[in-house]
């Protein structure tokens, strides 16, 4: 009897210590709940099954909330174990010494070589990128067919000709929603201006940022402004209507309601559009090229996981990062988030039924990258604003705009 009691207490003590040894991994993320569940519950369950000593505590908050809450926790020395970051946060927090260098982890070798420079700053690696999202042009296939246009126009000449055809049939070709931040004209402009050929050089952003090339001498940037003039002349979009349309609400419903035939937007809208079945038949395409013949897609370097330098459970955090960078796990997330994989030979979540032309263009390396955190904040703000201002007044001298961008860049370089 005495022995039984002893055994019982020993077992109890052992189980208690085993329970106490279970690590609670706090993960702060703007995906995983709310409107962006993105298959997180499935993946968390699988991770916990594979790592029975770790319990995941998902701390879901909007990206905007992370701007305030995470720095406060950095300063207090009690950050979450893992945080979701994007390039902007990597630049900001990594640049201020708040993120751990995870360059020695095995996931790095699984990321596509082209994307590795985006994982950190200088020689340090700060995050494991989960996906590459992108931007392109959504097309209402029925409206294009109604106008008699058989193939999506990829060169500027074909694009403007298509706009004229649509206008003649009473169809509004496109809207470039610029309200609430001027986002759509900016991405359209960048797709034109960052592409220096059908297979754009991928180091142009870096060259602009280091001052190796400047805006006022760059022919592709000048071509982008000229293309905007051509688009306006061909009535591809109405500048004022575009400036009064919000890209995140009114712009989407305007396209879904069939009021316009084309809308430049992010790939993340594929799922909601398919769910709504509005428009009934749509497809996603690259942006037209300013001077080339191949359409250009735009990569958006997506979010991923980083470990704060003061994280408590670093080993568990590294296991979490490793788990997400295996194709069988990552593809579950990408399917729900309709993103492109960041892994070599990984599986993307983009439905080829609507994005075949987009994928073909991206796979053919006809792409540029959206400069999140790649250009100085002051310059980005002015670029966004100047593009909208040019759209509203296309007669202005764009050389002055390009010169101003160079001046801002010079000022920033001097500060650095």
């Amino acid at each position: 009897m005495k022995l039984n009691k002893l055994a019982m207490f020993t077992a109890l003590a052992l189980s208690t210590s085993a329970f106490a040894a279970k690590v609670e991994l706090e993960v702060a993320s703007w995906k995983g709940a709310g409107t962006e569940v993105a298959n997180f519950p499935v993946l968390i369950k699988k991770f916990e099954q594979q790592n029975p000593d770790i319990k995941v505590k998902l701390n879901y908050m909007s990206r905007n909330d992370m701007v305030t809450s995470i720095p406060a926790r950095f300063q207090a020395g009690t950050p979450p174990d893992v945080i979701m970051v994007d390039r902007e946060f990597v630049t900001h927090w990594g640049g201020n010494g708040q993120l751990m260098d995870i360059g020695d982890q095995s996931f790095v070798s699984r990321i596509q070589p082209d994307l590795r420079p985006y994982l950190g700053l200088e020689d340090k690696t700060y995050y494991s990128m989960l996906q590459v999202s992108g931007m392109g042009v959504y097309v209402n296939d029925d409206l294009l067919a109604k106008a008699g246009i058989k193939a999506y126009p990829e060169s500027m000449a074909d694009f403007t000709a298509a706009c004229k055809t649509m206008k003649s049939k009473g169809i509004q070709p496109m809207v470039l929603p610029a309200n609430n931040g001027g986002w759509t004209p900016y991405i359209f402009f960048l797709a034109l201006g960052l592409a220096d050929g059908d297979v754009p050089s991928q180091d142009r952003l870096e060259k602009f940022n280091s001052g190796a090339i400047n805006f006022s001498d760059d022919q592709a940037m000048k071509n982008a402004f000229e293309s905007f003039r051509q688009l306006i002349d061909a009535e591809c979009f109405d500048p004022k209507i575009s400036a009064g349309t919000d890209p995140w609400s009114v712009g989407l419903t305007t396209f879904q309601a069939g009021r316009v035939a084309m809308l430049p937007q992010g790939l993340w809208n594929i799922t909601p559009f398919m769910k709504d079945a509005l428009p009934e038949n749509f497809s996603v395409h690259p942006f037209p090229s300013a001077t080339g013949t191949q359409g250009i897609t735009m990569d958006y370097i997506g979010p991923g996981w980083a470990i704060p330098k003061d994280a408590k459970d670093v080993d568990a955090a590294k296991k979490w990062i490793d788990f997400w960078t295996h194709d069988e796990n990552l593809k579950v997330f990408l399917e729900a988030d309709t993103g492109l994989t960041s892994l070599q030979d990984g599986t993307s979540g983009l439905p080829s039924s609507v994005a075949s032309n987009y994928l073909e263009s991206r796979n053919g390396l006809h792409y540029v990258t959206f400069p999140v955190g790649a250009l100085p904040v002051d310059l980005t703000k002015d670029m966004v604003n100047d593009v909208t201002a040019f759209m509203l007044d296309p007669k202005q001298d764009y050389n002055l705009i390009l010169k101003r961008w160079d001046d801002i860049m010079k000022k920033d370089l001097a500060k650095r």
């Binding site: 701007v67 900001h92 201020n96 509004q172 604003n385």
Partner: protein, 288 residues
């Protein structure tokens, strides 16, 4: 010297005020002299942020926008509120019902109201333009939020729509304080309704006017919500207000020092305007 012991009762409140009001303001002022990204170390740069504010055309435009927005809202919200109050005062049978109706917009969340109006202002299929078409006034159709020359008026109009009920309620309270004998005497002397409004109502409503103008001025000069939701300050900075610029400096640009400097400028801006306005209105009250 003997200190009145009752003054000791002020100490807790005074302490709270110093800790939660004075100290943050002082700290904010100190922050405004730095370049700080919200994490890491702040770098002392003296008055550089202030120099940039007063030299950069963008910031000067923000100050101008804020002033224009304030003037539009204060004038129209109170002007329309006063007219509504005068009409309602003469209609006692429906006064309470209409007063409540006028207050309904202010019961909405600012965010929801902003989004609703964004849809109403939409250039393609937006409610306002469609109504104009239905009324045969196609020529009055506008791109309400996309035209730099009218965008700030469009946003300010929503502010007026939302808070005109408040002004009306305060003016109606002022009307309640006007003796009916004064109005009756004027009527017996053959004073017209319009003359009575200008020469009796307006002077006797002086305290209500002071309260309304002061509250509206403070409220609009720090306005942030409607420009944030409806335009994010665009197009081309046409609707960027001080409050919104401060928000963007912190949450988008991570420029805490510059945001603090602009906040100090805003405090000074609001303080000077309300001080001048209040002194004038109080002096006017005393004269009356």
């Amino acid at each position: 010297m003997k200190i009145d012991k009752r003054l000791y009762l002020l100490i807790p409140a005074l302490l709270m005020y110093i800790i939660f009001m004075i100290y943050p303001v002082m700290n904010g002022f100190s922050l405004s002299m730095t370049e700080y990204a919200g994490v890491g170390e702040a770098k002392w740069i003296g008055f550089e942020n202030y120099k940039e504010i007063f030299q950069d055309q963008r910031y000067l435009q923000v100050l101008k926008n804020t002033l224009v927005y304030g003037v539009i809202v204060v004038v129209f919200q109170n002007g329309i509120g006063l007219v509504f109050a005068a009409i309602l005062n003469s209609l006692p049978a429906v006064r309470n019902l209409l007063r409540t109706a006028l207050l309904v917009p202010s019961m909405l969340s600012l965010v929801i109201a902003g989004y609703i109006w964004q849809y109403l202002y939409a250039p393609m299929g937006g409610g306002l333009n469609e109504v104009l078409v239905a009324l045969g006034m196609d020529n009055l159709q506008q791109v309400w939020l996309g035209d730099s020359s009218i965008a700030i008026v469009s946003v300010a109009a929503v502010h007026v729509w939302m808070f005109v009920g408040y002004s009306t309620a305060i003016f109606l309270a002022g009307y309640a304080g006007i003796s009916s004998e004064v109005k009756d005497a004027a009527k017996l002397d053959g004073v017209s309704a319009v003359k009575s409004f200008w020469h009796i109502d307006i002077p006797l409503l002086a305290p209500a006017i002071t309260v309304n103008l002061t509250l509206a001025t403070i409220g609009t000069l720090k306005s942030f919500e409607f420009p944030f939701i409806m335009t994010a300050g665009g197009p081309d900075y046409a609707t960027m207000t001080l409050g919104l610029q401060i928000f963007q400096l912190i949450f988008q640009d991570f420029k805490y020092g510059m945001a603090a400097a602009l906040s100090v400028v805003m405090i000074g801006f609001v303080g000077i305007i309300t001080l001048v306005q209040n002194s004038y209105l109080r002096a006017r009250e005393d004269r009356i």
